[in-house]
């Protein structure tokens, strides 16, 4: 049967659409022209500026981002994993409510989560700062971790836990030697997702950040508003390179582990 070429052409056009702006940005980070509209010559000037006094605010924002991401990943992973266990193990009206509570943030726009938390913090008079950012990040990350762990739990035949108990393992051994190793990939995937979402978050952080707690996305937005265009190009290219290397590394590890297990 002859197949239509339309879906193929469309797919590759979409991929081009995805990458054209990104490639242009990378090219412009080496462009001498400040506006980046025409090519006026090759330069590494913007990268030098990034590592000079001009770029100091960026690195302190980066350290804030990493602190927030680490704390919220740990918090969200603990809460989300517990929540997923409860949802998987117990079925009741009460758990249905619990499920809605965990699921709903996934389908509520960021801006509503951000503004309602800001108003909440103002109403109970909590000073905005790193702690409010961490609280906000934990709140939206819990849902992602819980869903990742839950989908792992659902994929497994939990009767092996009973088998372990029948074979004489006590509750402690069953939990740590059987259950945890099974769901560890789910917890790991959830934690990784929480970490990347936290690093990437702009909208929610924008509402709940306080003086002196600028994170990297907030800093980038400020630079865009101030028109520090070439510096953003250079910074973005560095971040893109890190992302690509991380994905490449992950893919290589994945291939290797697949080869070992298969």
């Amino acid at each position: 049967m002859r197949r239509s070429h339309f879906p193929a052409i469309l797919t590759w056009a979409v991929l081009i659409f995805f990458y054209v702006p990104i490639i242009l940005l990378v090219i412009n980070s080496f462009n001498l022209n400040r506006q980046g509209t025409v090519w006026t010559g090759f330069t590494l000037k913007w990268y030098e500026q990034l590592f000079s006094a001009k770029g100091r605010a960026i690195w302190s924002a980066l350290s804030n981002t990493l602190i927030v991401a680490l704390l919220s990943t740990v918090g969200a992973t603990i809460l989300g994993t517990c929540g997923a266990f409860a949802l998987h193990k117990f079925k009741s009206k009460f758990q249905n409510f619990h499920y809605c509570l965990i699921y709903t943030p996934l389908v509520v726009p960021d801006i509503l989560i951000g503004i309602s938390l800001l108003i909440f913090f103002m109403a109970v008079k909590i000073q905005l700062g790193l702690s409010t950012i961490v609280i906000a990040h934990i709140t939206f990350c819990v849902s992602y971790v819980a869903m990742a762990v839950l989908s792992r739990l659902q994929d497994f035949d939990m009767t092996i836990l009973e088998a372990a108990r029948d074979l004489g393992a006590n509750r402690w051994t069953t939990t740590w030697k059987v259950l945890v190793p099974i769901i560890l990939p789910g917890i790991f995937a959830g934690a990784l997702l929480a970490f990347t979402l936290s690093i990437d978050d702009f909208v929610i952080t924008f509402f709940v950040n306080g003086p002196g707690t600028t994170t990297l996305p907030i800093q980038i937005q400020g630079m865009i508003k101030r028109g520090a265009l070439p510096l953003i190009n250079a910074l973005s290219t560095l971040l893109l390179a890190i992302t690509f290397l991380a994905i490449l590394g992950y893919q290589i590890l994945l291939k290797r582990s697949q080869r070992q297990s298969g």
Partner: protein, 296 residues
């Protein structure tokens, strides 16, 4: 009797112990703040941009600015248009990905996910230079005689729409592909053997076959669109403001928290119906189309 009762109590205690952390956290920092905006909408404006002590209807009355209905209307039509366009592109893409060889499929999926891994602001910023008045896209379009040299690409609703489709496409492709992967393509061929044209089979066999994925994708795209703030702010002009922009403006520039709360309450209500429908469909936690699988 006594021992079974003790067992029951122990079990209940165990349930509370694992449920409590996430339940309490989400009640305190998600449910309560969401409910609070409805209460604050009826509060007066406090000193220094805070929340006042009086209850009042003034805030709600202050929402009747003449340009607000047009902004709310724009938010709705832009979100619907973005969802429609995104799905019109993503459904054939999902169809393609589900039918090609495993190698190509992995490559296309990886290339689709990578933009999702790069910072959201950076992706939007990249569009600013693409659409720039002296940028390459415009020079190219002028050279092709599609545009006149004095046309403007940036700072208009169409630019906002293009960038919204750009950022939302991966979120539509993933759930659609997840559904298309499970679709039995022999049905498609059967329809064609029975005389259906390819287009007819696509719309009457394939699309209904992945209905669950289409619904997921619709909401995955529609909801962030309604809440858009950054994209209209960065690539849009005065005539492309959306509800998100006025929420931010009343919060951070006018420091009028009760008014911002009232606007957020409006946004919540706008989305309440589709959300409720979605939650009803997805209430069953054992559903195979769990969003976690689509995201992870």
């Amino acid at each position: 009797m006594g021992s079974s009762r003790g067992e029951f109590r122990k079990r209940l205690l165990g349930e509370y112990a694992v449920t409590a952390p996430s339940l309490l956290w989400m009640t305190l920092f998600f449910l309560l703040p969401t409910l609070i905006i409805f209460a604050i909408a009826f509060r007066s404006r406090g000193e220094f941009g805070g929340i006042g002590d009086q209850w009042t209807f003034e805030t709600l009355k202050s929402l009747s600015y003449p340009n607000y209905p047009s902004i709310i209307w724009r938010t709705i039509w832009m979100s619907v248009a973005c969802t429609g366009l995104t799905l019109a592109i993503a459904i054939p893409v999902a169809y393609y990905i589900a039918r090609v060889s495993a190698r190509t499929r992995d490559l296309v999926m990886l290339l689709t996910i990578i933009p999702f891994w790069t910072n959201f602001l950076i992706r939007i910023f990249a569009w600013k230079s693409v659409l720039h008045p002296e940028g390459m896209l415009k020079s190219f379009l002028v050279w092709c005689h599609v545009l006149s040299p004095d046309a403007i690409l940036l700072y208009r609703p169409e630019a906002v729409l293009v960038v919204m489709v750009y950022t939302e496409l991966p979120f539509a492709i993933l759930p659609l592909y997840a559904a298309a992967e499970k679709f039995d393509f022999s049905l498609f061929e059967a329809a064609m053997d029975l005389g259906a044209s390819r287009l007819y089979a696509f719309f009457h066999v394939f699309v209904p076959g992945i209905a669950e994925g289409v619904l997921s994708a619709c909401l995955m795209v529609l909801i962030p669109c309604v809440g858009s703030y950054v994209i209209p702010d960065m690539v849009g002009g005065k005539d492309s403001m959306m509800i998100g922009n006025i929420i931010v403006r009343t919060t951070l520039e006018n420091r009028n928290i009760p008014a911002a709360a009232a606007l957020s309450a409006v946004m919540t209500l706008v989305m309440f119906l589709p959300l409720l429908y979605f939650l009803k469909r997805k209430k069953n936690p054992d559903g195979s189309a769990s969003p976690a699988k689509e995201v992870v």
